[in-house]
């Protein structure tokens, strides 16, 4: 914009939020929020699910109108409220969402320029592809990333996709200005991709822009950000804490408002009875895989994207068709090969699959907690003419209590609950069937510390009751805390089997063992 703007950017705070509140009906979701971000700062924003982080982002991007009395200023200039998208863009304020918001079957340059296409000439309405491409290449140059602008986004690696999202967010920034909000953008990335991602974020910061990073990964926040703000119940608990002066435990304490919950390993519940045998499984790049699981044993599957760990879990859970393979649970043999209309045979055999994408594969958002929770059993437990209300109410109440589902309302539509509570409903849906083999895919993904605790406890309890548990996850912390045994996959083969006292370090080391996979230096894995 103008020269004065650029000058202001040198002296003023990049973002200043003061006295912002938001009320929905009778409830105040945000109370008197105040925080500021300096130019060139990487600022973290943390808090439990439902603490108001998303609401704040939605106010900053103009989706919600804040209550009167608040103020938001960028580089010293107040924005009119509600924030208008074009004002936000002009001020250099942009957001990278959880799923990056990319259109897979369009090219890189189309994705970056989406919403900004300019016509070729005064009378021509045609998009000037060449000019657009050049503009996009210039953005990537500034970012220091090399991405082919003509490639389809769906064919890119995770880190290149992130680069595209960042390029889109920063393209309107003035030199030395701009603010990008990352709303849990690293959620879907593996450790390695994360390393490169933060490399890019660094280069954005070095260019003078500021970043507000929202994340559930406290470890990441402590390592990467300069200062951090903690929200709890819609209020700022503390803002601008230099991350040099705080650790994960301190942050957790602030987020929860109580002393830290530690997850110690507990003794294995594995008994010497077989729970499940997988024989000769071939799926994706995996072939000829055998796995033997004992009752009460918790087995982890991990590996980088494409290693086959996920496909194995999905095949065993019945969600993916394998090329070959046989699964025995409870003396019942199931072929993993045939194409199936549904997973009913798996469920009948006592297998439960907790899918990763909870709102696409796990739960129907528009239907209630109770309806979702009882779905796999309505045929078996009801008569043909009547499902019966008694057992449904009982089962739902039991799971709400066991998993501490909030709010404890069986008739609430699942889609209106927070992510952590949705995950609990999904887990409860399968635990209520008392499975003999529980297959979980990223069971604690994008849930807060409190929910993670409840979920881990519930998984342990299932194992205690004799259920065999199979967890596919890239979260080394979860695997280290929960598993008796971890199988590490690379290129379709098990390259390591870790047993005994597991540590995150060992798991990460085994996953990333190849020499050229070390990320930038601030990806110091785990202390």
């Amino acid at each position: 914009m103008s020269v004065s703007h650029a000058e202001a950017a040198q002296t003023e705070r990049r973002l200043e939020v003061a006295h912002v509140s938001k009320t929905f009906g009778p409830a105040r979701v945000l109370r008197d929020i105040g925080l500021h971000i300096e130019p060139g700062e990487l600022h973290g924003l943390v808090g439990q699910n439902g603490c108001g982080k998303s609401t704040l982002v939605k106010i900053l991007t103009g989706i919600y109108t804040p209550d009167p009395g608040g103020a938001i200023a960028v580089d010293g200039r107040p924005l009119s409220l509600p924030v208008r998208p074009l004002d936000a863009r002009a001020a250099g304020l942009s957001v990278v969402h959880q799923n990056l918001g990319l259109v897979d079957d369009r090219t890189v340059w189309e994705n970056v320029r989406l919403g900004r296409f300019r016509a070729a000439g005064r009378f021509s309405r045609r998009i000037d592809g060449r000019a657009e491409r050049e503009a996009v290449e210039a953005v990537f140059d500034r970012l220091g990333a090399r991405v082919d602008v003509n490639e389809r986004v769906g064919e890119l690696s995770a880190e290149d996709r992130a680069a595209v999202a960042i390029a889109r967010a920063m393209q309107d920034h003035q030199p030395g200005g701009g603010l990008i909000i990352f709303d849990e953008s690293t959620r879907a990335m593996g450790k390695e991709a994360r390393g490169r991602f933060f490399g890019l974020v660094r280069s954005v910061i070095d260019g003078g822009a500021s970043v507000l990073m929202i994340s559930h990964q406290l470890e990441e926040v402590v390592e990467v950000t300069d200062r951090v703000t903690v929200l709890r119940d819609g209020q700022v608990v503390e803002t601008g804490i230099p991350t040099k002066e705080i650790d994960e435990a301190g942050l957790t304490r602030l987020m929860l408002g109580r002393h830290l919950v530690t997850h110690d390993r507990v003794d294995s519940h594995a008994r010497d009875e077989p729970a499940a045998q997988v024989r000769n499984l071939a799926v994706r790049s995996v072939r000829g895989l055998d796995i033997d699981m004992k009752k009460g044993e918790i087995v982890g599957l991990t590996g980088l994207v494409g290693s086959g760990a996920v496909a194995v879990a999905e095949a065993i859970g019945g969600a993916r068709q394998a090329r070959a393979g046989e699964l025995t649970v409870n003396g019942r043999k199931l072929s993993l090969k045939p194409r199936r209309d549904s997973t009913s045979e798996f469920i009948a055999a006592g297998i439960a699959f907790v899918a990763e994408r909870r709102l696409e594969q796990g739960l129907a958002a528009e239907l209630s907690v109770s309806q979702n929770l009882t779905l796999p059993r309505v045929r078996a437990r009801g008569s043909r003419m009547r499902i019966g209300g008694g057992w449904q109410a009982e089962e739902t109440a039991a799971m709400i209590k066991k998993l501490d589902i909030k709010p404890p309302d069986p008739d609430k539509a699942v889609g209106t609950m927070s992510g952590g509570n949705q995950q609990k409903v999904l887990l409860g849906k399968w635990l209520a069937g008392k499975p003999d083999l529980l297959v979980l895919h990223e069971p604690t993904q994008a849930v807060d510390v409190g929910a993670r605790h409840d979920i881990i406890e519930a998984i342990r309890e299932a194992a205690r009751d004799g259920c065999g548990v199979l967890i596919s996850s890239v979260d080394a912390a979860d695997l280290a805390v929960l598993c008796d045994r971890v199988l590490v996959f690379r290129d379709g083969a098990v390259v390591a089997e870790l047993t005994g006292e597991l540590t995150q370090d060992d798991i990460i080391h085994a996953t990333f063992a190849s020499p050229d996979s070390r990320g930038p230096d601030f990806e110091r894995t785990v202390r």
């Binding site: 969600a319 209309d341 997973t343 699959f353 594969q361 779905l375």
Partner: protein, 339 residues
């Protein structure tokens, strides 16, 4: 670990504060939205009674409204079958209905069949068309709009050819009893419709099959991974839609005593209007049979009243179209505000 659990519980109890109240819709905002159409209906009746005191408040009016809409009841329930499982645009329902309603009198009047075997053939033909729709959409994965639009046009063409563009009438008078037998001033077919709607409502609300149908409509992948036989349920819905259209066509033919194949077209908008209107009645934002039934009679009341006022037949189109857009818009807005 035990102590930790307790702490977790304490905090969770302490934290929600206002959140509970925010998430649970207040009963006061829910009540008017789901019963709004009933209130409008009552107001409409009151206005007609006042403005047309000589014409409207008669048992004849009542009988016309509740005694004449059976074809619509059956067709809306047929459409509901596929809508509930997530197929929003079965455009072939009126044509399947017309197909059955043409076969029956053509076989009886033009070919001298006995009425019962002819009814069975018409019924079976409708089921077969439903199965064909289901096969194309579910098994082969062809787009629903394309299949049903094509099927609709095809069947209407065949019906016109069979009937030679004429109204076919002259069914045996005993057959009329099937639809017009008088119970408490209303034809028995009115009660068929009510029973059908209540049965469908019960199916959706209380049976495993109905629950599975709702989930298939909400998310196929979630249903598949929960052991629901998704394709079987979708296919079955198309077959059942054909079955209901066939049943409706037989009852309609019995009531009218014949059929004119050119009239099938005119049912398309009313069928969709009533079914979509149900998302504004009883269960906001959700298609439901009872709401559809109310919607049908609500729309008919409005139209009949206007026609008694002396307005021409174009009124029904204006009314169906206008009410549909207005009601569903209001329902969508209310639903958005409360969720």
């Amino acid at each position: 670990m035990d102590t930790v659990r307790h702490e977790a519980h304490d905090v969770a109890v302490a934290t929600p504060g206002g959140k509970n109240t925010r998430r649970r819709p207040a009963p006061l905002t829910q009540v008017p939205s789901r019963y709004a159409v009933l209130v409008v209906w009552a107001a409409m009746v009151a206005v007609y009674c006042l403005t047309e005191s000589s014409l409207f408040p008669h048992t004849g009016t009542f009988q016309t409204i509740f005694g004449s809409q059976q074809p619509l009841v059956f067709m809306t329930m047929a459409l509901m079958c596929t809508i509930v499982v997530g197929e929003f645009v079965d455009l072939s329902v009126p044509a399947v209905f017309g197909f059955g309603a043409t076969i029956l009198p053509v076989l009886v009047v033009n070919h001298g069949w006995n009425v019962w075997p002819a009814a069975i053939v018409a019924f079976a033909a409708c089921i077969a068309v439903g199965a064909l729709n289901g096969f194309l959409v579910v098994k082969l994965g062809v787009n629903t709009i394309v299949v049903t639009l094509g099927m609709s046009t095809l069947l209407e063409g065949i019906s016109l050819w069979m009937s030679d563009l004429n109204t076919i009438s002259g069914l045996p008078s005993g057959f009329q009893k099937l639809a017009l037998f008088d119970i408490g001033g209303l034809p028995i077919s009115f009660y068929y419709g009510v029973i059908l709607v209540l049965g469908f409502g019960y199916l959706l609300a209380f049976t495993p099959l109905g629950r599975h149908m709702r989930f298939v409509g909400a998310s196929r992948e979630v249903s598949r991974l929960s052991g629901v036989r998704v394709d079987r349920i979708r296919f079955g819905s198309f077959v059942f839609a054909g079955l209901l259209s066939g049943l409706g066509s037989i009852i309609a033919v019995a009531a009218i005593g014949g059929y004119n194949a050119t009239t099938s077209d005119s049912y398309l908008l009313p069928v969709f209007a009533a079914v979509f209107l149900s998302t504004a009645i009883f269960e906001p934002g959700r298609f439901n049979p009872l709401g559809t039934l109310v919607g049908i009679y609500f729309l008919e009341t409005g139209i009949l009243g206007l026609q008694l006022l002396g307005l021409q037949s174009w009124v029904s189109q204006v009314f169906y179209g206008g009410i549909l857009v207005i009601a569903v818009t209001i329902s969508t807005l209310l639903h958005r505000r409360t969720s």
